[in-house]
Subunit: 429 residues, 2 copies
């Protein structure tokens, strides 16, 4: 394979002289504070329990293709202009679908100029951070939250303060305490970042009363709310509450969502919803000359007739996989694994015994083809969560879940002496 | 139309109290140094002579769709994973096409791990800037160059130094002088940004001897080269020279290209080529969870069998439109317009008499449905280029070019008293 061969060559080159193979060391032009360089990609692990990868058997390929075909045949020539023919907020049929869907599904009453289609929700995060953050700023997050959001906050030079969760998501008494403490220190956080529905990684859902309380606290302390609803379509327990954005009577909430989980993550499509007074700034900061046209056209035509039914089937499948993984973790880890069933989403958030360092576990398991997210990367206080891990059940097949969890328990026992009992087998310590 | 209605509503809201409609002014959470907010989109102008919009009649819609259909039918399930199944550098069939194309067309011998597919060449610019720039850094550019690159350099807090061009692109004596002067001031520029082939906006092509000289100067002064070859496929005069990257025996060049001009700008696909020692950093900085899958799949299957022939036809069409616009500008502006024919690309770069302020002309013409790029936005020394303008001939139809240029000459006369002669009409001053 040419890639590996060349990697080897580079390795040889670096050993034999590094950057200084001409008159100057080209690396002196690089920034001094770069993040670590990427490593060559090694393919997917055999048991892929990380990230937001979804189920290959539930991508609606044929319907997406039919939708795109109809659209391209009708208006394919509009590919000749940046942003097609409906402006930089994004493809209008897709925005119009979202108006309808967010009204029905999330109780949001918005107009087409309050929606900006983005190239995936990570771009939404970047834009909101660019809108609000300068180095030294403070942001409030859930104590366990999306690792990619924390990485981005760090890259912006922002400090983040975690607020504890319980079985109903972020605790409002803890939020109030955090806001009060920060106010006492003279700090007004720039925003509260929350994943209220099918929270990542806990799978909890914030009840309506807490949403209203969060809005009132935001008001009292003069703090914006950034509501990340990326998993909200994937709920199987209880009904989806009105979005915080939908409860807001002012302009204190910026909302984002994504099609990565409901349709497919390789389609890079997300969206931000905000009042025009904020969205006009977010749009000015979006300097990428537009989000991919084919993906917007495909979903613009697909979603109207197909979205609801597709999501219904996909969620049923996810619920089955959730239950299977929960069952396997219970069987293989026994009392060594503590977790709450998720109410939606694609993750189990699991506490292992204190002697288990999941960062080390991830390393050893990774070498054996099992990938997982260690708790330290998904929490504000990493040290306090060194025995937690996040397992994604969406991508792996039922067989991979079964064998993967079994294998993970064996590796965990081998490294840390727990679990002592797997299924009806007692392991020697 | 809901969009305008809501804009009006917002206008009313702002007049009647601004941000302070709850307990706090939400705008206090925004950064103080934001760029200007976006204005509501008003649709395309009747005569669209700005930007990189292309010809709607030359988008290969049917072939793109057939290519995508075949690919999705074969491997549509891979949409379930971020980056499909071939890793974060991008869809492998598309990278493999680029290896072949860049070898044949630009004399570059590269491997698949030296190519990173990006979400358009603007992302390539962002990544390279993130790799190298910190505020206060200096970059060298052509004296007239891509306005979007200059905007980005300013946003990074970088200073840019322009080097004069002649009919063969950047002048190497002027480059040497600039490097020497900067070195005398103790400044090592981070990179030389150059568009050597079908330069934007001048349409010049840097000859091979100058490319070699640039490499040797880069070596002497310890400066990287960032080669932007976005228009290089659109050459109609002379043969395409070997890319500077292809002449480099070290690692001093980072190269970028795009499919926006050769296929369609609404497809957000570009690429960076660099040695893995730089590309591994660029890849780490690309935190968007991948570039759009459908567009990579479509081009990955389309380009091998179709790219060369499509580009040949597209270039022939562009050459005809170039000639038509050149003829019209000569006829309508007479001696008031000075310009060199372009050797490729999609622009004419035109000098009007000194009394014409093209920023003002753009404003007045814009109100009459004609858009153009004023010289001040496309040059390092804007004041010295206030009478220049860039006209794009790719998007407009032949009829639009004809009427648009005629109308522009009339507006210019009305505002600035020139041209005095249009066709066989003498205008009163």
């Amino acid at each position: 394979m040419s890639m590996l061969t060349n990697m080897d060559l580079n390795a040889i080159k670096s050993t034999s002289g590094g950057g200084d193979i001409m008159g100057f060391d080209y690396r002196s032009s690089f920034r001094a504070d770069l993040p670590a360089a990427a490593k060559p990609w090694q393919g997917f692990p055999a048991y892929n329990f990380v990230g937001g990868h979804m189920d290959p058997d539930h991508v609606p390929v044929a319907d997406l293709l039919a939708a795109l075909t109809a659209t391209l045949q009708k208006e394919g020539q509009t590919l000749a202009t940046y942003n097609l023919a409906t402006g930089p907020l994004g493809y209008l049929p897709l925005r119009e679908f979202l108006l309808q869907a967010l009204k029905t599904r999330a109780g949001m009453n918005i107009t087409a100029d309050e929606v900006l289609i983005t190239s995936g929700s990570l771009q939404s995060l970047d834009l909101v951070n660019q809108l609000m953050l300068t180095p030294g700023d403070t942001v409030i997050t859930e104590a366990a939250t999306y690792g990619g959001a924390l990485t981005r906050l760090s890259a912006c030079g922002a400090r983040y303060v975690g607020v504890d969760l319980d079985g109903d998501g972020m605790r409002m008494d803890a939020l109030e305490e955090a806001l009060k403490r920060l106010a006492g220190d003279g700090v007004t956080p720039k925003y509260i970042y929350t994943i209220p529905t099918a929270q990542n990684p806990t799978g909890t859902v914030l009840p309506q009363a807490r949403r209203e309380r969060m809005l009132s606290l935001a008001d009292d302390y003069g703090v914006m709310i950034f509501e990340d609803d990326c998993y909200a379509d994937l709920l199987w327990q209880g009904s989806r509450p009105t979005a915080i954005y939908g409860l807001d009577d002012g302009r204190r909430v910026i909302y984002c969502g994504s099609f990565s989980k409901s349709i497919a993550p390789a389609l890079r499509l997300g969206y931000v919803v905000a009042d025009w007074s904020a969205l006009s700034h977010l749009l000015a900061l979006k300097t990428d000359a537009g989000t991919s046209a084919l993906e917007q056209m495909a979903l613009g035509a697909y979603c109207g007739p197909h979205f609801d039914r597709h999501v219904e089937t996909a969620v049923k499948n996810l619920k089955e996989k959730h239950d299977l993984m929960a069952e396997l973790v219970s069987a293989e880890f026994g009392t060594a694994a503590e977790f709450q069933p998720a109410k939606g989403g694609i993750f189990l958030w699991i506490k292992l015994p204190d002697q288990v360092d999941t960062t080390k576990l991830a390393h050893v398991a990774g070498a054996a083809g099992i990938s997982l997210n260690p708790g330290a990367e998904w929490t504000v206080d990493g040290a306090a969560h060194r025995s937690w891990m996040r397992l994604c059940f969406a991508n792996a097949s039922r067989q991979q879940i079964t064998y993967g969890v079994r294998k993970l328990a064996a590796i965990c026992h081998q490294e840390f002496g727990v679990p002592q009992h797997s299924g009806n087998v007692t392991r020697s310590v």
